[in-house]
């Protein structure tokens, strides 16, 4: 098991190098000279040349990449080309908002989605089942920006229950979390339902029934444990997406999060910021995936992690 963890940890290195190299090269190949962008179109040519030298843009891309990664390994993510602020501090100041939003939205989709999915599976083809499915489809198809806007109009303007924007207290996160979870909630319901239905049809469930076990016991003890395996995996993978997944929601509710930092940096080609965020996200996703795999092996005794 330790050997497996070590191996997976080592595998993370080429993955991170691959991702960062790819992004770095793409950013460098994109049209537009960063020095001109920073100084503005009216800047004198000498100033642009000096800026290019200052940013090290005259070196080959690969060399710049190696220099950059060497800095990252020593914990130096550089500072933004545009406002000079340290990338890591900037990232750290925005991370809490993104995590709060992501976790709250995930919590809603798990707490509401799984029971609904189970109910729909147990009462298959009932009115409840159909209603749940239709609602799930509806929520999955509503675009986040529209849902967010409607939520603002209803809950902020008309009812005055929640603030429309900002990230000061947990109350501020209720509407954004609801908006963000619409899509994943629908997926959660459907996934839970499908996987429960698959298990319900299996032989061992029939055996349990013929043994005379109560329906409650069959569902709670036998079906649920096996039916939840794919659902657990999904929760794990969506956990990994938390950091990067909320661009629209963050902008509609003006939440200063990681996604908006990244998107703004991409727009203005702020390479150090883009790279810093990508590196952290890549490592985060890798680590979370590893943890998810480990958890999976432990909740399902059939899965063996071999080094």
């Amino acid at each position: 098991m330790l050997k497996y963890v070590a191996k997976r940890g080592l595998m993370l290195i080429p993955v991170v190098i691959g991702i960062t190299l790819f992004i770095y090269v793409i950013m460098s190949l994109a049209p537009g000279d960063p020095a001109t962008l920073i100084l503005g179109p009216d800047a004198p040519y000498e100033a642009v040349l000096a800026k290019r030298a200052e940013l090290g843009l005259n070196d080959p891309v690969l060399m710049r990449y190696v220099k950059y990664m060497a800095g990252v390994l020593q914990g130096d993510f550089g500072s933004s080309w545009y406002n000079g602020f340290n990338v890591l501090t900037e990232f750290a100041s925005r991370l809490p908002n993104t995590l709060t939003l992501g976790l709250m939205s995930m919590a809603i989709s798990v707490v509401v989605g799984i029971p609904l999915g189970i109910l729909a599976a147990v009462r298959q083809n009932s009115m409840l089942d159909y209603t749940t499915l239709v609602l799930a489809m509806l929520f999955a198809s509503i675009p986040a920006f529209w849902f967010g806007l409607m939520a603002q109009v209803i809950f902020c303007l008309t009812l005055g229950w929640f603030p429309a924007t900002g990230a000061e207290s947990l109350k501020h996160f209720v509407l954004p979390a609801l908006t963000l979870c619409t899509g994943s909630l629908a997926a959660q319901v459907r996934l839970t339902r499908t996987s429960m239905l698959e298990v319900i049809k299996l032989d061992y469930v029939r055996t349990a029934r013929s043994k005379g076990a109560s329906e409650q016991r069959i569902i709670g003890k036998h079906v649920l444990r096996n039916g939840m395996l794919p659902v657990a995996t999904r929760i794990g993978t969506s956990l990994a997406n938390i950091i990067s997944g909320a661009i629209v929601t963050e902008s509609v509710f003006s939440i200063p999060g990681v996604a908006s930092l990244l998107i703004n940096a991409v727009k203005i080609r702020d390479v150090p910021v883009v790279m810093g965020v990508i590196v952290v996200i890549a490592v985060f996703v890798g680590v979370v995936n590893l943890l998810v795999d480990l958890t999976y092996a432990l909740i399902d005794p059939r899965v063996k992690l071999e080094g």
Partner: protein, 526 residues
């Protein structure tokens, strides 16, 4: 089995702890913010705090930072923390601020400034002639400073409260430049102690508001300077928020989440239907115009360019972009600029579709593609789209090439466009602004694409306008230059941009100014 189970629980706990730990820091951080903005409330009269929102985030707080890019987004913050020697009134006249009076030598090359004696920086240091001289001597030679404080040679200390600014040649709009960001006075003593980076993170000036904190991507908090030399400002706490989405801006405005919205979207404002919000507009210092590529493609032919001049319905573009709230443009100088020739003293061109068709038929144009380069997702793109419709109707095979800002600059430098359309601001608020577009020292500088718009005659006029001190003669010179540009149809000026500002109707003193983002928060009160 029990061991496995224990391990399983342990791992799940680990995951949970990891995630909640991160969540935990968030509530800590946000509660910290919460206390700082406790004074927030909404709409109520008699309060002394205010929340301002803007779509763009200010991110450079040292006015003449040596390496960072600077732009107008920072103006509202900078001009309330720092102060200039003189201040520009909404009508363009000059008022004393840190300087009580000033004298200009007869040859226009020496400005003697008499400074106030009772001004202290937020750091507690007294503001002296030393600070003023150091500020100007540092900021004026910088890349961007040079464009505003043009012809600046040096600033010398005469005594503790007097400085004399020497110019290499007269520069007519120099007083305007002294109202701008490159003349915001900083604390030399503090700068020498802490350096540029620390100063940029915790800016210190003499202004009515003190810097408290900044949360990246979210807000900046200012507090009133109770020792302000001109009396403590009525509003004590200012929260400056970044709010990018225009629908969200409107909801927050109506909801009372924000009190003032700068750079508001006019189409959204016209749909507002509430007594609680007032809004106001003014002509900005920024001009939207189309530069025609005279060295490549159909634009090489004068008749073709003239067809564009006559065939563009500017009012239609104004309605499409600004709901008709903008002023349609005729020359590349906004109405508020000093040195702008008076209406009637220069040539203008009226929309005339028939004449445009005639000119087009006369030209060598044979249906080739005419592409308008613009920046995607901006008002410029909206303008380009309306324009495209008009030109197609005229019989020109017009396409719009809307790209992101970085690609725009790149394409611009390569010259791969029939025309380029992008609004640009002139912070010095003077006719001299277009020097940077037409004078050969600028237009033909290395790295620039030659649009074919500069000529020795124009160079001469622009150089003359720059140094002419007599305002009537200056206007004449610029009228002549504008006529030359119009005759050659180098550009088509579409409209002067609009600054719109929406605010809670209980708030007094909010006036949008021509210079984008220039607001003095100490003029405001509930």
């Amino acid at each position: 089995m029990t061991l496995r189970r224990c391990l399983a629980i342990l791992l799940v706990c680990c995951l949970l702890v990891m995630t909640t730990a991160c969540g935990g820091t968030s509530s800590d951080a946000t509660s910290g913010d919460g206390t700082a903005t406790n004074t927030d409330g909404s709409g109520a009269a008699g309060k002394d705090s205010i929340i301002i929102a803007s779509a763009s985030e200010p991110d450079c707080f040292f006015p003449f930072h040596s390496t960072l890019n600077t732009n107008m987004d920072e103006a509202p913050i900078l001009h309330n923390i720092y102060e200039t020697l003189i201040k520009m009134a909404p009508d363009g006249s000059h008022m004393p601020l840190l300087a009580t009076k000033w004298e200009i030598s007869a040859d226009g090359k020496e400005y003697t400034m008499y400074l106030r004696d009772d001004v202290y920086f937020h750091s507690g240091n007294k503001m002296t002639a030393e600070d003023v001289a150091w500020t100007l001597n540092t900021s004026a030679p910088s890349t961007q400073g040079k464009q505003q404080l043009a012809n600046f040679k040096t600033c010398e200390v005469i005594d503790e409260n007097t400085v004399v600014i020497k110019l290499s040649a007269p520069y007519a709009p120099f007083l305007n430049a002294l109202c701008g960001r490159f003349a915001l006075i900083a604390d030399k003593k503090l700068f020498d102690e802490i350096g540029e980076e620390a100063y940029n993170e915790n800016p210190v000036g003499t202004g009515p508001y003190k810097w408290i904190s900044r949360t990246s991507g979210d807000r900046i908090i200012l507090e009133s300077n109770e020792e302000y030399w001109n009396g403590a400002p009525p509003i004590k706490n200012i929260t400056y928020r970044v709010m990018t989405d225009s629908n969200t801006q409107m909801i927050s405005l109506e909801n009372g989440d924000i009190d003032v919205l700068l750079q508001a979207n006019i189409s959204a404002l016209t749909k507002l239907n509430t007594e609680k919000v007032k809004w106001d507009t003014t002509d900005a210092s920024s001009i939207c115009y189309m530069f025609i590529n005279c060295t490549k493609g159909p634009g090489q032919d004068l008749a073709f360019r003239q067809a564009l001049q006559y065939g563009i319905n500017k009012e239609e573009i104004n309605i499409g972009v600004y709901e008709g709230y903008a002023t349609v443009g005729d020359i590349q100088m906004a109405p508020s600029f000093s040195g702008r020739p008076d209406p009637g003293t220069y040539k203008t061109i009226e929309y005339d579709l028939e004449k445009a068709k005639e000119l087009l038929a006369k030209s060598s144009y044979n249906g080739e593609e005419f592409s308008i380069l613009t920046v995607s997702g901006t008002r410029n793109e909206n303008a380009a789209q309306v324009l495209q419709g008009q030109l197609i109707e005229l019989g020109i095979n017009c396409t719009v090439n809307a790209v992101d800002a970085p690609s725009y600059t790149n394409t611009e430098q390569e010259g791969n466009f029939g025309a380029k359309l992008r609004a640009s601001g002139i912070s010095v608020m003077d006719a001299d602004g277009i020097y940077y577009q037409f004078h050969s020292s600028q237009a033909l500088a290395p790295g620039k694409y030659d649009l074919g718009v500069s000529s020795p005659e124009l160079d001469e006029l622009f150089a003359a306008g720059r140094v002419e001190v007599d305002s009537a003669k200056r206007k004449q010179i610029y009228a002549q230059a504008c006529d030359m540009i119009t005759d050659n149809a180098y550009t088509v000026c579409l409209y002067y941009e609009v600054n719109a500002c929406a605010y809670n109707s209980g708030l007094k003193g909010v006036v949008p100014r021509a210079l984008t983002g220039l607001y003095f928060f100490n003029d405001w009160s509930w």
